[in-house]
């Protein structure tokens, strides 16, 4: 690797690490709650 490539590599990885950590954390925090089956559907299926 040339000096330029190493410089780009050194600048890129901290930025990627911060961006992805933030992105994944936000995706986890803002994840919608799991869908719950409505009770009516259960009753209907039992009839």
């Amino acid at each position: 690797m040339r000096r330029t490539h190493r410089a780009v590599h050194r600048a890129l990885w901290p930025a990627l690490a911060v961006l992805v950590t933030f992105g994944v954390a936000m995706a986890l925090v803002l994840r919608p709650p799991p869908k719950v089956e409505p009770p009516e559907a259960v009753e209907e299926s039992q009839q």
């Binding site: 190493r6 990885w13 901290p14 992805v20 986890l28 803002l30 994840r31 919608p32 799991p34």
Partner: protein, 347 residues
């Protein structure tokens, strides 16, 4: 190293490497499908396609994680160098696995006559303004496009056509592609699958790769700090401080690294950049009288930086002198192929 065009320079090491790769991929996908089908048996065709989609998707992500680990691991520990030897085949196979993943996604929509839904999802501009609900498939397609570009240009033909610096710059696109892929998983599979395994595995894989690159980058920065004497020459050290049949690497202030090799009583300085892929020549050894690149075995004569006949690669050399028992190198390069090695007394 070749004097003529050959599609692939097959040898035993490459056959073994590729054999292990293909067996590993087959084993992973087979085990993933078998175990998943045993735990939660698919009922309809779309369920089977979804299972294949997940098997190939996780396999491609795992393969990319391993590929991106090889470079910094080889920088940190020479024992990982053999993994680097045929990494391009690893990359091409990863692209093929990712293609099956993408095709499975299209097929999943097709068998349910829902392709228009897929098109709508990808082409509705307002969807791109959301975070949760962002068309994560577009992120996967972007990463797949990068993988295609890199697989298509992975051959040495493109390396020589584009020149090693441009080729290397192009192939560094794999780093942002991996980040995009991490977000593809975070906004896709992690939203649907409530298992804590998804964020744990995703976070661990990315943290592992990022940590390796940050550590390797930090070490490289230290090695790049060069200092020169008053007359511009760089002090390397006593001849004995250069390991026999190996090199000490010095950095020219603001310039490229120089590999100062010693072969018995002969000392010579070459650029640290191999002519093939700009591999770290100074981390190689002198084998059969030639400086040998640790990445793919390209060889050069220490005396003048020329590859032994019939090969034609040539490197720049640097003037070397012995002053007050210290080997010094002039960081101003000589024209490629200029003899510059000197004889020294190593006692």
């Amino acid at each position: 190293m070749s004097v003529g065009f050959r599609a692939v320079q097959w040898n035993r090491a490459k056959f073994v490497y590729d054999g292990i790769l293909i067996a590993g991929v087959a084993l992973y996908i087979g085990a993933f499908i078998a175990i998943s089908a045993w735990i939660d048996p698919p009922e309809e065709l779309p369920d089977w396609i979804d299972l294949r989609l997940r098997a190939f998707g996780t396999c491609a992500f795992l393969m990319l994680t391993i590929i991106l680990s090889i470079g910094p691991l080889a920088r940190l520990d020479r024992r990982f160098l053999p993994l680097l030897y045929n990494r391009r085949h690893f990359g091409v196979l990863t692209f093929l696995v990712a293609v099956v993943h993408a095709w499975s996604m299209v097929e999943w929509f097709a068998v349910q006559n829902a392709l228009p839904d897929l098109v709508t999802e990808l082409t509705t501009p307002s969807h791109y303004a959301r975070f949760i609900g962002f068309p994560f498939k577009a992120l996967g397609l972007a990463a797949l496009l990068v993988l295609f570009l890199l697989a298509a240009t992975s051959h040495d033909f493109w390396l020589f056509f584009l020149t090693p610096p441009v080729w290397k710059g192009l192939h560094m696109l794999i780093y942002p592609a991996y980040a995009v892929l991490a977000m593809h998983v975070a906004l896709g599979a992690m939203q649907d699958n409530r298992s804590p395994l998804v964020p744990i595995l995703l976070g661990s894989a990315f943290a592992w790769v990022a940590a390796l690159h940050l550590i390797a980058g930090r070490r490289e920065r230290t090695a790049d700090r060069g200092s020169a004497l008053a007359d511009g020459w760089i002090a390397v050290g006593p001849p004995q401080s250069i390991p026999d049949k190996a090199a000490r690497i010095v950095a020219a202030p603001g310039g490229e690294r120089i590999a100062v090799f010693r072969d018995g009583g002969r000392v010579g300085a070459l650029t640290n950049l191999c002519a093939h892929q700009n591999g770290p020549l100074g981390e190689g050894r002198i084998i059969d009288g030639c400086v040998t690149c640790p990445w793919h075995g390209f060889q050069y004569r220490l005396v003048d930086g020329r590859a032994p006949p019939p090969f034609t690669e040539v490197l720049v050399t640097y003037p070397v002198r012995l002053r007050n028992g210290i080997v010094e190198v002039d960081p101003r390069p000589l024209p490629p192929g200029t003899p510059a090695a000197i004889s020294v007394d190593v006692g």
